[in-house]
């Protein structure tokens, strides 16, 4: 028997012994540290199931940060025991919650995952090993149906039992098999915490998850860090029959992405990302994960022409659940009883503009704009009743739809089944239902006898939301 044969034989023996010890649980885990799992939740049924599987199949101690994907996401806390290592965070409008979760990470390894992912036995150690095999490996992904490039694998299982028996048979057989790849776009990624120190968090200008992840991977590769695809672990993914929030790439963010990475705008998004030559791209700046939620200026308008009674429910309007608000009151016309009483809400305004002549309404608006500090201006009129989460909802639409203008066209203000509709041409809309970014030439303001109107500039992204049906 030659020396080479001996080495092969010995390696085989070693591999068998290793497999045996591993099978009976005598080999330690790759790391003794806790792993933080950031779970982005989109569907309560999926989320419950996904967390149950995380608790069942994670062989390491874990800490789960569960992030709801919308204001309407119901509580699922009741499905879990108090001692389960899960933190259910509330939804917060106007901020990237994943970046916020990144801020709290103290463990060396982190998993970023969507609730559509169903993990399989020993998934976590398999994902950690490549980081220990190779120090430059920074992000690791399993094979899954959610990857668009190398790691894409669509397997059909009738049941969870079938999935587990596949994983138990397939994963050990390919144990240790991983390779370097150029791009991830999927819903389950393990990364080293130090990645956040060198490239920062998700780019807040991007909205779709796929683009955020792709951008993050490109930034990691620019600083010579590696992406590892584990072929020894498969996780299942659920798909939605209808488009999910953050799934569709909108043209504005695609423009941002293309100019950032010097790509042709006409190219089909995913294909062109995979063909990107990273060595020709300019170095991208570090993106801080410290972001404050949007700061809002609310113009609270009382106009003589419009208001028949003069003691409306101002207080309910000003008691908004959103906290980062600058309040600017605008009083237009003669009022018998000035509402500047210190005991009333007018006393708690940050600024008050007052013009005696109704014809001077435009000047009053201009003055208010000079005082405005918020990134977004929301108009609230004393003639309408607004619910206490009105500002929160407007901020939510503004942020997640990347809108320049948000208009509520429903009869009632906030509602749970709001639908987004982006009109082909801008329409004049009541100012009292409008919010827009504080940008140059957002549009024009006009006044009729009954109502103030806003006409958004044609090139802006105006989003109309309403109750139940789309507004034509």
């Amino acid at each position: 028997m030659s020396n080479r044969d001996n080495i092969e034989k010995n390696t085989e023996h070693l591999a068998k012994r290793f497999a045996h010890l591993d099978h009976i649980g005598l080999i330690g885990l790759p790391s003794i540290d806790k792993v933080t799992i950031i779970l982005e939740m989109t569907d309560p049924v999926w989320a419950v199931h996904s967390i149950q599987l995380l608790l069942l199949h994670s062989e390491h101690p874990i800490r789960i940060i569960a992030l709801p994907g919308s204001l309407e996401f119901p509580s699922i806390q009741q499905y879990f025991a108090k001692e389960d290592p899960i933190e259910f965070w509330p939804y917060e409008a106007g901020i990237d919650r994943v970046n916020q979760a990144f801020l709290t990470i103290e463990t060396p390894f982190v998993v970023l995952m969507e609730d559509r992912i169903m993990v399989t036995p020993r998934w976590l150690s398999s994902l950690i090993w490549p980081c220990l095999d190779e120090e430059h490996v920074m992000i690791v992904s399993p094979m899954s149906p959610t990857e668009q490039f190398d790691g894409k694998l669509d397997l059909w299982f009738q049941s969870h039992v079938d999935l587990v028996s596949y994983a138990e048979e397939h994963n050990p057989r390919n144990q240790g098999l991983w390779r370097q790849v150029t791009m991830f776009t999927g819903s389950c990624l393990l990364f080293r915490r130090e990645l956040l120190d060198v490239v920062g968090g998700f780019d807040p200008r991007l909205r779709s998850r796929e683009l955020k992840v792709a951008d993050w991977c490109l930034r990691a590769r620019m600083i010579t860090r590696q992406l590892a695809l584990c072929e020894d672990v498969y996780v299942q993914a659920l798909h939605s029959l209808q488009p999910r929030r953050g799934e569709k790439i909108i043209s504005d963010e695609w423009d941002v992405f293309c100019s950032k990475w010097g790509m042709e705008r006409e190219a089909y998004p995913l294909k062109s990302i995979s063909e990107l030559d990273i060595s020709k791209c300019s170095i991208q700046p570090f993106i801080s994960i410290h972001h404050e939620p949007l700061f809002i200026t609310v113009f609270l308008v009382v106009s003589e022409v419009l208001d028949t009674t003069f003691e409306p429910e101002y207080s309910t309007q000003i008691e908004q659940t959103y906290s980062r608000i600058q309040w600017v009151g605008i009083l237009i016309g003669e009022h018998q009883e000035l509402p500047c009483n210190e005991h009333r809400i007018w006393g708690s305004l940050d600024a008050l503009i007052k013009v005696r002549e109704v014809e001077e309404w435009h000047e009053a608006l201009e003055a208010a704009f000079m005082l405005a500090k918020g990134e977004v201006i929301i108009f609230m009129f004393a003639t309408r009743a607004y619910e206490s989460d009105y500002v929160t909802r407007v901020v939510d639409f503004m942020y997640r739809e990347s809108a320049d203008v948000v208009v509520n066209t429903g009869n009632d203000t906030p509602n749970l089944e709001a639908q987004v509709h982006i009109p082909k041409e801008p329409l004049p809309v009541p100012l009292s239902l409008t919010a827009h970014r504080r940008i140059q030439e957002a549009g024009s303001y006009v006044r009729s006898l009954e109502e103030y109107y806003f006409i958004p500039r044609a090139s802006l992204r105006a989003v109309y939301w309403t109750k139940g049906t789309e507004d034509e």
Binding site: V45, S159, H160, Q236
Partner: protein, 411 residues
């Protein structure tokens, strides 16, 4: 929710066994006839004999009916909901009768499913609430807990599950029909990109685009399919393929073009008369009548009914009644006949005979044989040819009896 399953040829031939595990709000599932003990356990179902089933109060059950021969029995028991699962005609059955009564079953059901895409598409052009129970996607769209396991659902299972959940809650479920059309449409459009000269793929892509109301995109697929058919010497494609373009033109409101295309696709004198009649309607501004008639002539009865329903003229009611008859919606047809708002030109004797025949059929389908025979015999006193209805009825009764006997013997 309680479910009661009525298989055609016993449990062994029931091809939707996995579906029983995926039923929403599943409380108990009972199969009429014998089920093997192992299957009872595996699928979590109970079996019940025909006699015992008849003694149950079915008003709290949702019935799943897989054979048109169960129709009169199930109808007479007034179940909470009826789900029809349509199958291709078994080898040992008379195809003409099976297909006709399967249509009647579909017309009576609250929701219809089938694994056959051919039956599915035919039904989509006839009525609403039809779902395809087969597909190619390897992706997982949802899950259902069943006993200790979690079952993963593919696209059509998830759509079916969502539609049934809506039905159980008394909600509308059309949105899931659209979701399924979108999925099937994307499948054939993608497949068409790989096989651009495949007549059937192009035709199916065109059909789904048409169902989605996207006739402007569908046209090029049907033209492509028509060209392929002509190239391969399929001579009957003028009415099956080319005429389809008239329905598409009608869908986008170009009725002049729709009539022109239809006129090219017909030869007979009767059909040419129809063209003249439609041109007259168009000249008199009766656009909706033209539209509905073009749909009907393309066998798209569902669109024809949708177009005619809001109209009030006696002509539109008469056309609507024809469409109801073509799709075996006898109760609706009878209601229109009895409203007396149909065309005055209609001979009152013909109207009486029609009315009696429809009434007789409805009685038969609700297991009221005495009333059925009485109505039809009355009709024969005016029109002797009505007797043929009696022959058809007795053939149906015979087939139904044969199936019931085999189930009774089995259990």
């Amino acid at each position: 929710m309680k479910y009661m399953i009525f298989c055609h040829n016993g449990w062994g031939d029931f091809s939707y066994k996995r579906m029983l595990k995926l039923l929403p709000d599943r409380d108990e599932v009972i199969v009429v006839g014998e089920v093997m003990k192992k299957d009872e356990q595996d699928y979590d179902v109970c079996s019940i004999s025909l006699t015992n089933m008849l003694s149950l109060d079915l008003t709290e059950y949702t019935t799943i009916v897989c054979s048109p021969y169960w129709l009169k029995t199930v109808n007479s028991l007034h179940p909470r909901y009826m789900i029809a699962l349509l199958e291709r005609c078994p080898d040992d059955q008379d195809a003409e009768m099976w297909n006709k009564y399967s249509e009647i079953l579909a017309a009576h059901a609250d929701i219809v499913g089938t694994a056959s895409e051919r039956i599915y598409l035919e039904q989509c052009l006839r009525r609403e609430g039809i779902f395809l129970l087969s597909g190619e996607s390897p992706l997982t769209y949802g899950m259902v807990n069943h006993r200790q396991d979690t079952l993963f659902l593919n696209d059509y299972e998830m759509i079916w599950f969502e539609a049934l959940s809506c039905m159980n809650k008394g909600e509308r479920f059309e949105q899931w029909t659209y979701v399924q059309w979108e999925i099937r449409c994307k499948y054939y459009v993608d497949l068409g990109a790989t096989y651009p000269f495949h007549a059937t793929i192009s035709y199916l892509a065109a059909t789904y685009l048409y169902l989605l109301g996207k006739s402007s995109d569908a046209g090029m697929y049907v033209v492509n399919s028509f060209e392929q058919m002509v190239l391969h010497d399929y001579l009957d494609c003028l009415d099956s393929h080319y005429r389809f373009l008239s329905s598409m033109a009608a869908q986008v409101g170009d009725l002049e073009k729709a009539i022109r295309i239809y006129a090219v696709s017909v030869y007979s004198e009767v059909d040419q008369m129809k063209v003249i009649e439609m041109r007259l309607w168009l000249d008199h501004g009766e656009d909706d009548l033209v539209k509905a008639e073009i749909f009907r002539l393309n066998e798209d009865y569902a669109s024809a009914i949708r177009t005619l329903k809001p109209l009030n003229s006696s002509e539109s009611k008469s056309l609507l009644r024809d469409n109801y008859m073509q799709t075996y919606r006898y109760e609706d047809a009878l209601r229109l006949t009895e409203e007396g708002s149909l065309s005055h030109e209609m001979d009152s004797e013909i109207s009486l005979v029609n009315s009696l025949l429809i009434r007789g059929t409805i009685h038969m389908l609700h297991n009221r044989p005495y009333e059925a025979v009485k109505a039809i015999l009355t009709a024969t006193t005016v029109e002797l040819s009505a007797l043929q209805w009696l022959t058809e009825m007795s053939s149906y009764e015979e087939s139904a009896e044969r199936m019931l006997r085999s189930i009774a013997y089995e259990s």
